[in-house]
């Protein structure tokens, strides 16, 4: 084919760079996809082995309330009921979000609307610090401050669901706050001006317009916070008391799905039923985190639809 000025680009140096850049970004995507696929495959294969290889009944697993993995068969067989842990996970997640949600949204309103200059200057670094604190420090602080405080003022051992809830609430606060700040900042200033121009007060504008316009963002913020709370292991394990029974009060020692995994994984042999059960719990976590992600996407899409 004859050379044409318009199709010469392919052979030049820039054309080569173009293809190199394309290949590099494609490779990055491929690595991520392979990693995700590998994690899903591995967790699924190990997690399902409990039921298909070791023949543990799925319903006994999900709804059993007795966790006695070392019980011999003559004594009634090992029991792998994980309902208390599932319940523990949901309780700490729900209540920590219940505490962190309003506080995070309130702080976000303060930072964006009430005192956008100094409030934001002060709070932005504070939030970044909170995000950066390692979870072991949260757990250690909770162990040293919250557990003794609860022991003295609320009764019981101090270790328990409530201690876990309080530690988690602080941990997810920055997540909730920063996503809420983003949601509030995304409200167009003309809309606020429109409200003020009708004679609305600042409070009316915040309450009736900003809160409404940012509602999907707030839901997203709380769901992200819940996802973090649901998945947190170390800090919770340090303060929750690691009880094996179905919790009957917030002051009782309990466990969550994550704490059971971290507590037991060192004590089991790979391939054994005790180990596979932990993988089944990991599978449960994976499925829940997937649910959280889809919930966030669904809320986001609905939010866009509503505001169109």
């Amino acid at each position: 084919m004859e050379a044409h000025p318009l199709i010469a680009g392919r052979r030049t140096r820039e054309g080569f760079r173009d293809r190199l850049g394309y290949a590099a970004t494609l490779l990055s995507v491929a690595v991520i996809l392979v990693a995700v696929a590998a994690i899903y495959l591995f967790v699924f294969s190990r997690g399902l082995a409990t039921f298909f290889v070791n023949h543990v009944n799925v319903l006994d697993f999900l709804f059993g309330t007795e966790w006695r993995p070392t019980l011999t068969e003559s004594e009634g067989g090992p029991k792998f009921g994980v309902l208390p842990f599932i319940v523990g996970s949901f309780i700490v997640t729900f209540f920590s979000a219940l505490i962190a949600g309003p506080i995070g949204i309130g702080a976000a309103i303060f930072m964006t609307e009430i005192a956008p200059s100094w409030g934001r200057k002060l709070m932005q670094p504070v939030i970044e610090i909170l995000v950066g604190i390692p979870s072991v420090v949260y757990g250690f602080t909770g162990l040293t401050l919250i557990v003794p405080f609860l022991r003295e003022h609320a009764g019981g051992l101090g270790f328990g669901l409530l201690a876990g809830i309080l530690v988690l609430a602080v941990m997810i606060l920055p997540t909730v706050t920063s996503i809420s700040v983003d949601a509030l900042s995304a409200v167009p200033p003309e809309i606020k001006a429109g409200s003020y121009a009708l004679g609305a007060t600042r409070w009316q504008t915040i309450w009736r317009i900003l809160m409404r316009a940012s509602a999907p963002g707030f839901v997203t913020a709380v769901i992200f916070g819940m996802a973090r709370a649901f998945g947190e292991a170390l800090a919770v394990q340090m303060v929750i008391g690691n009880g094996k029974n179905m919790p009957t009060s917030l002051l009782e020692p309990a466990s969550t799905i994550t704490t059971v995994i971290t507590m037991n994984m060192g004590n089991t042999v790979a391939g054994s039923v005790e180990n596979n059960v932990l993988w089944s719990l990991a599978l449960l976590l994976l499925l829940m985190s997937t649910v959280f992600i889809f919930a966030v996407r669904w809320v986001g899409r609905r939010g866009r639809l509503m505001s169109r």
Partner: protein, 257 residues
Amino acid sequence: MTTETKAKTVLSVRGLNLYYGRAQALFDISLDVRERSVLALIGPSGSGKSTFLRSLNRMNDLVKDVRITGEVFWRGKNIYAPGVDLVEVRKKIGMVFQRPNPFPLSIYDNIAYGPRIHGIRDRRRLDEIVERSLRAAALWDEVKDRLHESALGLSGGQQQRLVIARVLAVEPEIVLMDEPTSALDPISTARIEALIDELRSRYTIVIVTHNMQQAARISDETAFFLNGRLIEHAATAELFQRPKRKETEDYITGRFG
């Protein structure tokens, strides 16, 4: 300055200066607005016409570091006097912005927003206000079957008429409009202009426009701004045909701006 003095003055500006920080943006502006008339504010970008408009219902209060001296009398009361209720000022002197800014609520709730924040709860009264306001803004027939759908589904021109209806719902005396058609297509612009023409019998309208033909078409009086100063204010026909000042003539004949 005004040719007819029969009509009452509803808004009277005296010696208004405005500063952004240390930079002065408006210089000693005095001007009267007659009741039930359309006053157009024209001038090149940066001449201060929008800033001046926003001083008339104290929207500049929301901007940081703005300082204002001078007086704006509405029915004999200076709206910058201490103790003046901002809520009342903005109720009586409404504002329509350059870009349509409907709230992310239903059409109905957009209109009912103003009356609701001012304490009207009764559903029947709200229904009445919503219908009356939408009719006044020539939007009722287009939206009456979807009052409870999101206002963001309307076209740009419909949104701007919705916003005008939203302002009318709080029963203002004066409606300030800041280049209300600059984001709209020619057909929507014509509709807004027709609407302004209808509204002039009941409301006083002050409109900023960068479009001189528009000013000539819709206004009774025109005020020309340049570099933060009011250069000339006269009946529209007079200002366009026999401008008294050289700057005005240069501007309307397209020599600058």
